[in-house]
Amino acid sequence: MTTVDGTGSEAQRLRRASPLRQLLTRPEFGSIVGAILIFVVFWALTGFTVGKGFMSWQGFAAYIEVAAQVGILGATVALLMIAGEFDLSIGSMVGAAGLILGLSITQFGLPLWLGLIITFAFALAVGALNGYIVVRTGLPSFIVTLGSLYMLRGAGLALTRLVSNGQTIVSGVGTAAADDPISKLFNAVLFTIEGGDFKIELVWWIAVVGISTWILLRTRFGNWIFAVGGSKEASRNIGVPVNRVKILLFMATAASAALFACIQVLSVGNADVLRGTGKEFEAIITAVIGGTLLTGGYGSALGSAFGAFILGVTQLGIFFVPGFNSDWYAFVLGALLLVAALVNNWILRRASGARS
């Protein structure tokens, strides 16, 4: 009845999607349900206590801090994964960027603002190089960035030991940056509720997720991100600047790693080149839990925020569960990843009407 001519039987198959169905087929749907579930499960495991431990403002502030830090990485990693690429180098970029910031303001006595500029410039340059190598050689980004992961870590270690007498830690950053108001951008308590300190990375997290989501869903560039991940050839045939999109996204993931590094270095007061180890995989897990496909072309930056929240709740929630300790964190994370991948698969099949 709504068809225009004889092609009818095909057109009739497209049913109107109800708002509920639309929500069910959103890529981040699984992560929203997952976040609620995980929260309830940990609350149950801690005996539904309120006011102390897991279900307290202090606890809440603690897992928000963890979530915010990994979430900053997760949002940009989600964009890159939607474009069909991985960036494993961000793990050691966190260490390397922190090292550069630490050395600039301690060893070289540079002002903090200049140190920050150098740090971000370095990260953007490495990101651009990663992207350039990937698009020029056509090698899998997994391999290219695995290479830069090891190179950055190795060079970082060697250089730190050289300048700080065999140590992997550059200390004294805290004192060097203490009086600088700029450091408040990366290390400050926003507000405190009943002893729970909510820190400034919460703002950075919201900003990065917000901007990433806006870019992905509401800009031309966002449309290109989906397209590039869906099919490089189709995108190129239709005039999408495939290489530019990918290189810019590699720069974004590297910059988010640098941001993470600045927050950590200025909060802790020293730079450790080993910091950030394993973050590359945590960021990928965050993105996958958030509904992003490993194969590209589909996903959500907003979902990565729920993924990060799940990570934060899990990492700290385990402490509060009697009889468990942080050794179980990796196990639970792995299990969550597996479940998330299965749920994503299911959502995708519903969204695409079970046709490939």
Binding site: T2, T3, V4, D5, G6, T7, S9, E10, A11, R13, L14, R15, R16, A17, Q22, W214, R218, T219, R220, G222, N223, W224, F226, A227, G230, S231, E233, A234, S235, R236, N237, I238, G239, V240, L293, G297, Y298, L348, A351, S352, G353, R355, S356
Partner: protein, 289 residues
């Protein structure tokens, strides 16, 4: 001017004798392999030229040359009678030549309107607030899809939910919307079932009646015969001739495409097989019983 959709019908009326796109004695070599040798092909506005040929006949090389992917080693391309050099697919598009490649037409994990405007996204706002005008994209995509006979009620639905014929039609509609005067369709029906192919064929006829020049590549004579005005037959990189509608029948086309003798060989072989199977039949039951 060449890309404006509104001028295409005027142009066809004014200069219908001059082919919109013409390839003159094109040759293309890959190393020592002769992919195309002295092939000519032309298409006028409001005309469908079916390019027929078996696998490996050089069809892909020819359309890649016409769509700016390859540069011919010999011969030249003319658009509206003027020689041109196409440096890229994008360059070809700006000349009004749109190619819809078989498998790479649309992205199944993106919505109808995102697919429709991919690479040509409408925007509103300025500076950092310049954004993808989704409302406009949804509305326009829906209207245009309706015009070509596909009712899309939910433009956020992924293209993967559409049938193969509809996807192909979406890609063709998109090319048309963005000002194509020449449509090059690479095997648009070969992966489709009968019904789905009918959707695409119907759309080809409509595109022709709107004054577009269509080059329809296929190896399926049954699909080519009902829609084609001209049939260009390619075999082993060479043109075996151009036939007008009504000049040739299905069997002749099939014979030319496949190399007639090969088909005859095949049917003789099949007859022999059948004969030997028939003679072997009486002996077959004993071992099993």
């Amino acid at each position: 001017m060449t890309t404006a959709p509104s001028t295409s019908t005027d142009a066809s009326a004014a200069a219908s004798d001059i082919p919109v796109l013409e390839a003159q004695s094109i040759s293309k070599y890959f190393g020592r392999v002769v992919a195309l040798k002295d092939v000519s092909l032309s298409v006028k506005a409001g005309e469908v030229n079916c390019l027929l040929g078996d696998n490996g006949a050089g069809k892909s090389t020819l359309i890649k040359t016409l769509s700016g992917v390859h540069r011919p080693d010999d011969g030249q391309l003319l658009i509206d009678g003027h020689p041109v050099t196409l440096s890229s697919p994008h360059d070809a598009q700006s000349h009004g030549i749109a190619t819809v490649f078989q498998d790479l037409a649309v992205l199944p994990l993106m919505s109808v309107s995102r697919n429709f405007f991919l690479g040509n996204e409408p925007t509103k706002g300025r500076g950092p607030f310049r954004r993808f005008d989704m409302a406009y994209a949804d509305r326009t995509a829906q209207e245009h899809m309706r015009e070509i006979g596909i009712e899309v009620r939910d433009t956020s639905q992924l293209v993967g939910t559409m049938s193969g014929g509809e996807r192909q039609t979406l890609a063709i509609a998109r090319a048309e919307y963005f000002g194509a005067r020449v449509l090059i369709l690479d095997e648009p029906t070969s992966a489709l079932g009968v019904k789905q192919a009918a959707i695409v064929l119907r759309h080809i006829v409509r595109a022709r009646s709107r004054g577009l020049a269509v080059i329809f590549i296929t190896h399926n004579v049954q699909h080519a015969l009902p829609v084609g005005d001209k049939f260009t037959i390619l075999s082993h990189g060479q043109s075996l001739g151009v036939f007008k509608r009504g000049e040739v029948g299905m069997n002749e086309l099939l014979g030319l495409m496949g190399g007639g003798e090969e088909l005859e060989d095949l049917s003789r072989e099949l007859d022999e097989l059948q004969a030997s199977a028939a003679s072997a039949e009486p002996e077959a039951p004993p071992p099993s019983g």
